[in-house]
């Protein structure tokens, strides 16, 4: 049988896993994707028979952190199955070939899997100055993106840089970085923001495409609803303390250890949509809030430029303290006294 035509089940068998272990993984997967239990037999059938997905992974202005996150995703597929199943036809960091051969293999893969392959983009794109700030094999990144996007079955922008522009996009944005979706007008792009995004989410979205053959359901910002439908705040295990009005006062104080809410320390959970609080990181071990650090809001657009990392959400950005209050009251009082003086003068009489 042709190597690329292997299904997920074939891979499990070859690696010596039992069927039971295969079914457990699928159960986890369908639960993560939010499929109803009635769909379970279909999911099993699809993963037994459908060939593994072909993935072309492009990296532009990035740090490879998303890749790191992706290859460390172990809660759904076992480590040794993951990279064999998600067949990375082209990935600059992970693939063996280099230089001319690498570019050739990409071209080959695009032709071979045209219309079916999944294009994953990591990092923002820089079309400014004809793309001189990021070129691969003599081609500008924007050009490369257009080339690969043309025949893709599904385009996934992985990470905040690809989804929103991220850190390269931050002020003053010297390279003119933009989000992937900005350059691919008219094409549906699945944004999986986060810095980095949760690896399990990337794996689930890719696997989900093999099962249904369709992109997942997206919200208005192009994020899969299954993972970005709720805020961290909504699912946070410290939420009861927020509701009860109990807050940690400083990092790792007695209250923080007791699990009190980190809102006062600047937690952006209430306005950050992500699955950190449910799926968590490192195989469901923990997530930032659990380890005592407030949510950064890294999966929200422009998080880097908003600059209020450790101030509570509700306070005035730019600051309005006792000084400002006193200043405005003093000015107001002076104006009031002046007005009263004028009024008195104009009053005359007694």
């Amino acid at each position: 049988m042709f190597k690329n035509m292997e299904s997920l089940y074939d891979l499990y068998k070859n690696k010596g896993y039992s069927r039971r272990e295969f079914l457990r993984s699928i159960m986890l997967l369908s639960a993560t994707l939010g499929f109803p239990p009635s769909m379970f037999p279909d999911v099993v059938k699809a993963l037994e028979s459908r060939p593994k997905p072909a993935v072309i992974w492009l990296e532009f202005q990035d740090c490879a952190g998303c890749t790191e996150s992706f290859i460390k995703s172990t809660s759904i597929l076992p480590a040794d199955v993951l990279l064999d199943y998600i067949s990375l036809e082209y990935h600059e960091t992970l693939m063996a070939p280099s230089g001319f051969y690498a570019e050739e293999s990409k071209k080959e893969a695009i032709e071979k899997h045209r219309g079916r392959y999944i294009l994953v983009v990591e990092g923002s794109v820089s079309p400014k100055d004809r793309g001189v700030y990021c070129t691969i094999g003599g081609k500008s990144n924007a050009e490369l993106l257009q080339e690969a996007a043309e025949g893709a079955g599904l385009i996934i922008a992985v990470g905040s840089c690809a989804s929103w522009g991220g850190i390269p996009y931050a002020y003053p944005n010297p390279t003119g970085a933009v989000a992937v979706s900005k350059l691919l007008k008219g094409k549906e792009v699945v944004n999986i923001p986060g810095c980095p995004p949760i690896g399990d989410v990337i794996v689930s979205v890719i696997a989900g495409y093999t099962i249904t053959g369709k992109p997942p359901e997206l919200d208005s910002l192009g994020r899969p609803k299954a993972f970005y439908g709720q805020t961290i705040h909504d699912r946070c295990y410290r939420r009861p303390f927020y509701n009860a009005g109990r807050f940690a006062e400083s990092f790792d104080d007695e209250k923080a250890k007791k699990g009190y809410c980190l809102y006062k320390l600047g937690c952006k959970g209430p306005m950050t949509r992500n699955a950190c609080a449910t799926i968590r990181w490192n195989g469901g071990l923990s997530f930032p809030i659990q380890s005592g650090h407030p949510c950064f809001g890294c999966s929200e657009p422009d998080f880097w430029d908003r600059g209020f990392v450790y101030t509570p959400l509700s306070v005035v950005e730019g600051g309005f303290g006792p000084k400002e209050a006193l200043l405005s009251v003093t000015v107001g009082a002076a104006l009031g006294a002046g007005a009263a003086y004028l009024n008195k003068k104009l009053r005359g009489g007694k």
Binding site: N243, E317, G318, T330, A340
Partner: protein
């Protein structure tokens, strides 16, 4: 987009609103204070200063002893009480608001649990609606009411409503609702010094004078 609006309403716009609020309130208060008073040489029968402070502290409890007025205007009494309790409680003690006040005053502020703020919000919103309807139907209030009252009631109601929606029923529209809530709250903060909503600052003057007169005349009420 929603985040940009959010950043605007909690950043520069809120800053601007607070400047307008503090400046305007101080202006209105001191414009009245510095008009001056004629001296009063009549020997007081009681202690005017003590009474002035006392009345400022306990005035809201005094009207309740008027049984016959209460029986006719229970709506005003109960509704007004619930509304003020809710509005003041929500303004100062909801965690998010308390942190804002903490930043403004530089003093630690207590916060209250969600369950209480929810009850207060429902109470305030409900009583505000009832009070507005009452205002529109009662012949006396019809005569006294201008556009200002209706606009202020509407603005406060919608601020309360969006706040309640944002904390309770937002779903995926959370940031939008929160931004809307804050935008309207900013507008309300700006509107206060220009309207009769600034009565809270005149309360101290007006009730203070009333207590002063009561002390001067030696009456307890």
């Amino acid at each position: 987009m929603d985040v940009a609006l959010y950043d605007f309403v909690r950043g520069p716009f809120l800053r601007f609103a607070l400047f307008v609020f503090f400046l305007g309130i101080a202006y209105r208060f001191f414009r009245v204070v510095f008009l001056g008073l004629p001296p009063d040489y009549a020997r007081p029968k009681g202690n005017p200063y003590y009474m002035a402070v006392k009345k400022i502290l306990i005035k809201p409890t005094m009207g309740w002893t008027f049984n016959e007025i209460f029986s006719r205007r229970a709506v005003n009494y109960v509704g007004g009480f619930l509304f003020h309790l809710g509005f003041i409680g929500l303004t100062f003690l909801v965690p998010a608001h308390a942190l804002l006040w903490q930043e403004i005053t530089g003093l630690p502020m207590p916060t209250m649990p969600n369950i209480i703020s929810d009850i207060l919000a429902y109470a305030a919103l409900g009583s505000l609606v009832v009070l507005t309807v009452h205002r529109a139907l009662n012949p006396v209030l019809k005569l006294l009411t201008g556009k200002d009252e209706y606009f202020a009631n509407f603005l406060i109601a919608i601020v309360l409503f969006t706040g309640l929606l944002a904390t309770r029923w937002a779903g995926s529209g959370y940031v939008w609702l929160l931004s809307l809530h804050m935008l309207l709250a900013d507008l309300l903060i700006i509107y206060i010094p220009f309207s009769r909503l600034s009565h809270f600052i005149y309360y101290f003057l007006s009730v203070g004078f009333m207590g002063w007169n009561a002390g001067k005349r030696g009456v307890s009420f």
